[in-house]
Assembly symmetry: D2
Homo-oligomer: 357 residues x 4
C-alpha cells in the first residue's frame, strides 16, 4: 500500500489500516526517556486504571494487551472451563477470525455458533442454548456468552437488547463477555454511558478495543468481576502478554482516554460512515444493507461500480460475503473529502453505460 495522499484517501478496507492519533504519538514520545518500573508497575499503567475506573463509574482492574484477539481469548479463558462452551454469534470475530485463539487459550472449550440479524445474537436462540445439555457430562457445559458491541456488521445492541441477553445469561448462571473491539463506536452511537453498556448489563469482562480507533498496539481487558484478576494476571504472563516496558502500552491508552479522544475519534468515524450512507442512499443503483450504527457499511454495488472503484485505486472488501456485496469501513482518519470523493466516484461509475458482451 502506497502512502501517497490520494491512496491514503481511498482506503476503506478496514479501520486497522489507519495510523495513530497525534495525541498518542506525543504521549509515546513523552514516555520514551527515563526509567519506569516494568510489567505494569509503572505510573502510566496506574493512571490508565484510574481513568477506566472513572469512565466506568466503579473500581475496575485493567490488563493491557497487544491485540484484541489476546484480550478476547484471555477473557474467555477466565470465564469458561476447558469443558465449557462459549455461546456466540456465528459471524463473530471470536468464532471466525482469530484462528482458534479462544480454543487455544481456554484449553479446548467449544464455540457454539448462534444466529440473529445484523450479527446480533437472537435471544430465542440464546435461551435454548444456555440450557442445552447443561450438567450432562457427555456434552460441553454452557459457560459463557460472548457478545460483540458493536457487531462485525456495524450494528449495535440497544440497551434493551443487551439487557435481554444479560438477563438470560444471568438467570442461567453463565458469565458474560463483551468483545468491544469497536466499543467506542457503540458508545458514540448509542449515547449511553460505558457503565450502562457493560457491568450494569451484566458484563463480567470487556475487551476494550483501542487499536481500531486510534492507538497503535494497545488494547485492554477491563475487569468488572475483580475476583478474576489474579487468574487473568497469571494467564496473561503465560501467554506472553505481559509487556516488560508496559509504560509504552499504557501511554497509548492514557492519551486515548484523555480529553475524550476515544469518543471523539469514534464519533468522527461514525459520522463519516453516516455521511457515506446518506450519499449512497441517493444513488439508485446502490442498495444499502443492514444497520450502519457505527463505522461499517455494507451495500450492494453493480459490478461495474466495484470494478471502477478498484481501478481508481480504492481499497475495500467485495464479493466476500456474497457476490455484489461490498463493505466500506471508515476510521478516525477518514475525512469528509475522502467520503465525498468516494461518493462522486460511485456516481460516475454507476452512470457509465454497461457494455454488453
Amino acid at each position: 500500500m502506497n502512502t501517497t495522499s490520494s491512496a491514503t484517501a481511498r482506503v476503506f478496507s478496514s479501520d486497522n489500516v489507519a495510523g495513530t492519533s497525534p495525541e498518542i504519538i506525543e504521549a509515546m514520545a513523552r514516555a520514551a526517556s527515563g526509567p519506569a518500573l516494568p510489567y505494569g508497575a509503572d505510573d502510566s499503567t496506574a493512571a490508565v486504571r484510574r481513568r477506566l475506573s472513572d469512565l466506568f463509574e466503579r473500581e475496575v482492574d485493567v490488563l493491557l494487551v497487544s491485540t484484541g484477539s489476546a484480550a478476547n481469548a484471555l477473557s474467555l479463558a477466565a470465564l469458561t472451563p476447558p469443558w465449557g462452551s462459549v455461546l456466540c454469534h456465528r459471524d463473530s470475530h471470536i468464532n471466525n477470525d482469530e484462528c482458534g485463539a479462544p480454543e487455544f487459550y481456554t484449553a479446548g472449550a467449544k464455540l457454539v455458533p448462534l444466529g440473529g440479524d445484523d450479527a446480533k445474537i437472537d435471544p430465542r436462540e440464546l435461551r435454548a442454548a444456555v440450557r442445552h445439555k447443561a450438567g450432562d457430562v457427555h456434552s460441553v457445559e454452557p459457560s459463557v456468552v460472548g457478545v460483540t458491541q458493536a457487531t462485525e456488521t456495524g450494528a449495535v445492541y440497544s440497551l434493551d437488547e443487551l439487557g435481554t441477553l444479560g438477563g438470560i445469561t444471568e438467570e442461567a448462571g453463565l458469565r458474560l463477555h463483551m468483545d468491544g473491539a469497536r466499543f467506542a463506536g457503540a458508545v458514540a452511537s448509542l449515547g449511553r454511558t460505558p457503565a450502562e453498556l457493560t457491568w450494569r448489563a451484566g458484563v463480567d469482562l470487556l475487551s476494550f478495543g483501542a487499536t481500531k480507533n486510534g492507538t497503535m498496539t494497545a488494547d485492554a481487558i477491563v475487569v468488572f468481576d475483580r475476583s478474576l484478576t489474579p487468574e487473568l494476571s497469571f494467564r496473561a504472563k503465560r501467554a506472553g502478554q505481559l509487556a516488560a516496558k508496559m509504560r509504552f502500552q499504557a501511554a497509548q491508552l492514557d492519551a486515548y482516554l484523555t480529553d475524550d479522544l476515544w469518543l471523539r475519534n469514534a464519533s468522527h468515524a461514525n459520522a463519516m460512515a453516516a455521511r457515506l450512507q446518506e450519499g449512497l442512499k441517493a444513488i439508485p443503483e446502490v442498495g444499502l444493507l443492514g444497520a450502519t450504527d457505527v463505522n461499517i457499511l455494507f451495500c450492494r454495488l453493480p459490478q461495474q461500480v466495484t470494478e471502477g472503484l478498484l481501478a481508481d485505486g480504492y481499497a475495500f472488501y467485495h464479493d466476500r460475503w456474497e457476490p455484489g456485496v461490498v463493505r466500506f469501513v471508515t476510521s478516525f482518519a477518514t475525512t469528509p473529502e475522502d467520503v465525498d470523493d468516494l461518493l462522486r466516484a460511485v456516481v460516475r461509475h454507476a452512470a457509465r453505460p454497461t457494455v454488453s458482451v
Copy 2:
C-alpha cells in the same frame, strides 16, 4: 518509580526499566500517519525482513511479537511435539521466569533442567539428556535444546562452546532454539557475526530480543529453518501475537537495525558493565562473581553497602539468589557518570565503620 534525574541514574535493577532510543521514537512518529496494510503486509515489516536477512547473511523469515516470552514460547512450540522435552539450563528464563509460557504454547511439553556454570549448559549433561529414553513411549521425547545467548547471569557461549552444543543437538536429531533476549550484547561481546552465532552453529529459530536493548514493545523471531514459517504464522495469530497495525512494531525494529543502533546500544551497555566491574575490582570489600561478558554483573557486597545503596535510592536485586549476592544491570541508557556515582557510593558505604550491636 520517579523520573527525576537522580533517580533515573540510580536504577540498576534491570535493562527493562530503560525507555527507548530516540531513533526509535522518531521512527514511530514517522510511521504514525497514513494507511498501511495490516497484519505484517506493510512496507516496514518487509523492510525488517530484508534487514535481518542482510544481517544474518541469508534469507530469513521474521515474525514480530510483543514480548520475549512470546518469541520463546512460539519458537519452542514449533520445534517440539506436545510429548517432547525441551532441554535447557535450570536457570534459564524459559524454565523459571515465564510462568509456564513454553508449556502453554507447546500444549504441555516438558522442560528438562540441566546444570552448568554461568547458566551455560554443560555439554556432558546435554549429551546424556539427548538420548534419555529417546523413542520410549513411557517418557517424553527429547526434542529441542534451548540455549540462552547471553545467559541469565551475563555470560556468553563462545563460538566453540556453541559448536559443541550444536553438534550434540544435531547428531541426536534434535532442534536448536536460541533465546536471544540479550543477543545484541552477545554479538557485541564476542565480536563474531550474527550468522556465526546462530544458523552456522545449527540454530533453527532465534528469539531476537530488542526490548531490553532499546525498542519499546517489539521483539522478533528470526526463522532460519523457513519450513517452519507457515506453522509459526498460524501459531502467532492464534496466540494473539499478530498485531493488526504491525507497522508500529516494524518501525521499532527497522530503526533498531538501522546504522547499527542495535549494536551500538549493546556495546554501550556492555561497556558500562565493564566500567562498573573495573571499579568494583578495586574495592576490597566487594567480591565479583562469575563472568560479566555483557551488561549483567553479579557480586557479593557487605550488608552495610547494600543497605547504604538502598538508602541512597539505588534500585537493584539483592539477596534473591543467596544472602549477600547482588545483581547490577546496565543498559543503553546508563551513563559513565551513573556508574561512577554508583562506584563512589559503594566505596563510601564500604568505608563506614560497622556498628556492632
Copy 3:
C-alpha cells in the same frame, strides 16, 4: 436397571446396555493366568494386529483403547494441528457427545459442523468447507474430514457416497477419519468389504468400534497410514490409554475377530432392527423416520403409546430430538421374542381409546 429377565428384554435405549458375548468372556478367562508382557508387547495384541491386517487386506497398525471417544479423539489429534478444523456432521458423536474430547486431544482444534440428511455429510457442504479460508492465518485451517459409518441415526454411507466424500477430501489435501463405533453394522448392512469401506475410500484412521457390538471395554484404532503410528503411540500413552495389562483388551478383540463373531453380532442386531421396522410399518399409528440401515430406528409414536411402553417398563429415548420422536436401538443380545413383544405392546397401546380431558 434391574436385571430380571423381563426387564432385560425391554431395554431398547442403546446398544451399550448389553453385556458381552460368551466367546469374549471365555477369552478373558483364558487370558487370566500366567505372565504376559505389558503395554501391548504380548502375544494377544500381536494376534489382533494380524487379524485386523487380514480383515482389511493390508498391513495395518492397531492401538487398543478403552473407549470409542478415546479412539476418535486420539485419531483426530494425529490428523489435525491445533489450528486446524475437523469437518463433520452437526449430529455427529464427536461434535455432540464427547464433552469436547476432540478439542482436548487436539489442543484446541475446531469442529466445523456440516449438514446433510440421515446424519450423513452433504457433499456440497463439504466441498465448500474444505476450501473455506484455507491458508488464511486468521482462520482455522481445514485439516480433516470426520465421517461416521454407520451414522448416529442408523444410516450408512454407500460406497459411492463414501467415494464422493473421500474424493473431495483427497483433492483438497485433507485427511479422512472414520468413526466406526458401529462399523460392523455398516459392513453387515452394505455387504462390502472392510477394505472397500475404509482405506480404499481414502480413510487414514478408523475408530474400530467393538464395545457396542459385543466386547466389554475394548475399542481399537486401525491405522492405515502407518506413518502416524509413532505419534499415536506417544499420544495414547500420554492420554492414559496405554493399558499395562493390554492382553485383557486384546483378548476381547481377538475373540471378537474370531470366526466372524463381530459380523455375526452386527448382522443379528441389524436383523432385529429390521424385524422391528417391518412390524412397525404395519401399525398405522406409527410413522417411521429416516433410514434404518443398521440397528437404530427412529419413529414417531402417539403419546399414549410412548407412555404405555414406559409404564410397561420399556426403556428407550423419546422426546429428545423433537416431541413424539422415539429411538429404538437393538443389539447382539436382542432376541426376536424381545422385538415381537415390543411390537405387540405398541399395537396394544395404539389401540387404547384416547381419553379426552
Copy 4:
C-alpha cells in the same frame, strides 16, 4: 513372553506382567449377561462406591478409569490450574513414566522435581518449594503436592512422614494427591487403616491402584474432597475415560474389594519380596539396596549372576539405574517356589568361578 509354567515362574520384571485373580474373572463372567445402565449408572459401580466409602470410613466419590496414568493425570488436573506446579519426587512415576500425561491433562502445569531418599520427598525440600515464588506471576504457582505410596523403589511413607508432608502442604494452602498405584501394598506393609493413610493425612484425591495387584484394566480415583467430583466427571468424559459398559470395570473392583482380596493379594506380594530379601541377605555376593517395604526389591548383583539368570530365562530390569543394579518385583501371583528357585539360581551363579579374560 511364553506362558509355559517355567517361564511364568521366572518373571520378576514387574507386577504388571501378572494376570488377574480368579475372583475377578469370575465376577466378570457374572457381569457378562443382561442389560445394565451405561456410564457408571449401573449397580456394580454403585456397589464399588459403597465399598470404598466403607473402606475409607467416610463418604467418598469414585471414578473408575482404565489406567493408573489416567487416574493420576485426571486427579492432578483437578488440583492445579494450568499455571500451577506439581511438587513431586524426581523419581516419581508422574514425573518420569507417563510421557507427560500430567502436563497434557493439566493443560501445561509444571512438575517440579524434589529429592529425598527411597523416592520419598524430603520435607526440607518440600518446605522450600511450597513457598517458591508463590504469588509471582512470572513463575508457575505452587499448587499441589504429589506423593507416591508406596514409592517407585518399594519404600513406604510412615504415618509420621506423611503427616509432616501433609502439614507442610496444608499450611501453605496447597492440595495433596497420592499416587497409590501400590496403595494396597503400603496398607499391608504399614498396618494402618486406609483412612489414616489418606484423608486423615490431608489427601484430597487418591489414585487407588488395582491393576498391579490383581485386577485387569481397572483403577480408580477416590475423591475425598467431593466438591471436585463434577469437575472430575467432565474431565473424565472428555479424556475418553468414561466407559460405556462401566459395569465391567466396576465388577473388577467390586470383587477386588470383596473379602479383602485387595489386602490379601498385596500381603502375599509383600511376603514374597520379604522372602526374597531374606534369602538374598544370606548370599554374600549380593548387596541389598534401600527399603523393601512392599513388593519391590533393589539389589546389586555381580555381573555373572545377572547374566546367568538371564540365560536361565529370568526376566527383570538390570543396569537401568546404574551398572550392576537389579530390580526384582513380586506379585500376587508369585509363589514361594518361584522365589526359592530364583534364590537357588542366584547362589548357583554366584558360585561359578569368574572367567578372567
